[in-house]
């Protein structure tokens, strides 16, 4: 199974262990914050000129440090043997309140529920999972996705999203197409607090007309409106 590690390079200082051939990397230099993360992902998907399409693209934030050498095998195993379409290092068993559409829209009704991971600070985020399990949504700091699926759904939603909710969008699409989403409990540190809280983010060209708050709220509202056929998501 071919794979490609996609990293949008900003100012993160993460580390990914293992020996990966040069053509397994797709680095998008975005240190000037010229592209929105969504646009950068789409560029990674479009860059196919020099090599064949990988079976799986692994989108990792540049502020992620992976502590397990065999992380890649564990991820690819879920694609090979569990019919996974999306795999992450952190995931939640639900997205959206059961009453999401029964009451007027509220942002808090679009919250994730039952988040688990094997992040080094997993207690801060939710529960711990060192194995693997099916989930409703994964967290964006690592998303592995079948490339043919990504192409089938038209690529990343650059017309609608910039930064937030790319993970939720991907998993809503997976649900809409009756595909499976998994998390694998890899020991990992997501340092966080990088680019998105700095001035370079606030001043980004792709954010103009919006604010950090609206860039958080509006994507959730859009998702709630667009994916009412599958939301709320829930796996047991």
């Amino acid at each position: 199974m071919n794979y490609e590690i996609v990293m949008v390079k900003c100012e993160g200082t993460g580390h990914i262990p293992g020996s990966h051939p040069a053509d397994a990397w797709r680095i998008i230099d975005n240190q000037s914050n010229r592209f929105s993360p969504c646009e950068a992902y789409q560029r990674a998907l479009n860059c196919r000129a020099t090599k064949p399409q990988p079976d799986v693209q692994i989108y990792i934030h540049d502020d992620v440090t992976i502590h397990e050498k065999d992380w890649l095998e564990n991820v690819l195993m879920l694609f090979r043997h569990m019919d996974a379409t999306v795999v992450g290092f952190g995931g939640a068993t639900s997205l959206g309140s059961p009453d999401l559409y029964k009451v007027p829209y509220r942002l808090e009704n679009m919250a994730r529920g039952g988040y688990v991971s094997n992040q080094t600070d997993w207690q801060v985020h939710g529960g711990r999972e060192a194995g693997f399990r099916q989930v409703a949504v994964v967290d964006a700091f690592m998303m592995a996705v079948r490339t043919d699926f990504l192409r089938k759904i038209g690529g990343w939603p650059v017309q609608h999203l910039t930064h937030h909710c790319l993970d939720l969008w991907l998993c809503c699409e997976a649900a809409r197409h009756d595909r499976k989403v998994f998390l694998v409990g890899c020991s990992v540190t997501h340092h966080g607090g990088g680019t998105s809280v700095k001035d370079i983010y606030r001043n980004a060209a792709w954010l103009q007309g919006g604010t950090r708050e609206s860039d958080h709220q509006e994507p959730h509202r859009w998702l709630a409106q667009e994916y009412r056929d599958v939301l709320p998501l829930r796996v047991k």
Binding site: D99, L100, Y101, K102, V103, P104, Y105, R228, D229, L231
Partner: protein, 375 residues
């Protein structure tokens, strides 16, 4: 897979009652799914060739709540191994719950408009609901009442409204339509003439308000003038004969109704409701509504100050329905507060936006219908 027969039992979908409209909308929307073949056994009305469903009608004089016609209807519809879904108060459906050796599934959408002693439904209603394969309430409050009664979890889904019909209309034109002045204070009340709809409180409230607002007009929308209440007697006794704009339900199209709502500064609904179309319609037209702080309708009122608390409760009907008793003065105070500080129309419409069928059907109802086939 051939489509599954689904027969609704309720008010006839050709009637303009709230239940008739819910049944019409749900039946027509479900008929759009290839997984179902939809029919309706309805009480009252004539049926309509404009609806894409098989219709069986029993006269309103039928006192058996469709029991007498059920077997023949089911045979003709070919629904013995399908689903029968009722949209009625459970007190009307004990006969249905007790049918033996049936092969069809019983689904029920229950408009619970009151609780009872020990905060539960009365025994016969509880026994009826227990026999259903799937129970569904209109509101979270209704679901809780049923859960306490039958001792197991119950889901709820609100019913929707047609946003093409009910929307804010031009105020000037609406007031011309209702034949009231542009500077009048206009208060509306849309209720059937039933015991649980407190027309007495409505008239008492408006009578008191008129002392403060001399140019007040009262839009009264009712099905019959004399039944449980005498509307003419109330108008006369409260001295409101000269300020009433009367319209009769059944004679007005939804779009026309939306103009009447839009002409109002405020509507009143001193009633106990499973949910209450007049609440939804008023807000969909941008007009605030004052409602009793009791029952499931409370859930769609956006401000606590638009709810009037009961002073006490009483038991009503042979089904031990707990009804709230209101003090008209409390309605007057709350109404004046709204009239003095009117909300933006957008606040009202936002409160019911999620109930548009175009939103509610794909997000809630379609899923519920199809999940029922899977189970």
């Amino acid at each position: 897979m051939p489509p599954t027969p689904l027969l609704f039992i309720s008010d006839s979908p050709s009637l303009r009652t709230g239940l008739g409209r819910i049944t019409r909308d749900l039946a027509c929307l479900t008929a759009s799914l290839p997984e179902f073949r939809v029919g309706c056994l309805g009480r009252g009305g004539l049926g309509s060739s404009r609806l894409p469903i098989a219709q069986y009608v029993v006269p309103e004089s039928d006192q058996t709540w469709c029991q007498a016609a059920f077997d023949q209807c089911l045979n003709d519809f070919g629904g013995r191994k399908g689903i029968v879904m009722t949209i009625w108060d459970p007190s009307r459906l004990y006969w249905f719950s007790q049918l033996e050796s049936v092969e069809f599934k019983r689904w029920g959408y229950f408009p619970v408009d009151s609780t009872g002693p020990r905060d539960k439904l009365t025994g016969v209603s509880t026994a009826t609901i227990r026999e259903y394969d799937r129970q569904l309430a209109y509101t979270a409050w209704g679901a809780q009442v049923i859960e306490r009664s039958i001792g197991k979890p119950v889901d709820w889904i609100p019913h929707g409204y047609d946003a093409d019909k009910f929307q804010p209309r031009d105020r000037y034109a609406s007031r011309m339509t209702l034949n009231v002045g542009q500077d009048d204070i206009v208060i509306g009340c849309n209720m059937t003439n039933q015991a649980r709809k407190d027309w007495g409180v409505a008239f008492a409230c408006v009578s008191e308000l008129r002392k403060a607002y001399r140019s007040l007009k009262f839009w009264v929308h009712v099905d019959v003038l004399d039944r449980h209440w005498s509307i003419p007697a109330l108008a006369q006794d409260f001295g409101l004969m000269d300020c009433i704009a009367l319209t009769m339900s059944g004679s007005k199209a939804d779009e026309e109704l939306s103009h009447y709502y839009s002409a109002c500064d405020l509507t009143l609904l001193p009633s106990t409701e499973g949910m209450g179309y007049p609440l939804i319609e008023s807000m969909a037209c941008g007009t605030p509504v004052l409602h009793g702080n009791y029952g499931g309708g409370v859930e769609i009122i956006p401000r606590g100050s638009w709810l009037v608390g009961p002073r006490c409760f009483r038991l009503d009907t042979p089904y031990n329905s707990l009804r709230p008793c209101f003090e008209p003065g409390d309605w007057v105070d709350a109404a004046r507060e709204i009239l003095e500080n009117p909300p933006e129309r957008e606040e009202c419409t936002a409160a019911v936006e999620h109930l548009r069928w175009s939103a509610l059907w794909p997000s809630c109802w379609k899923k519920w219908m199809l999940e029922g086939l899977a189970s």
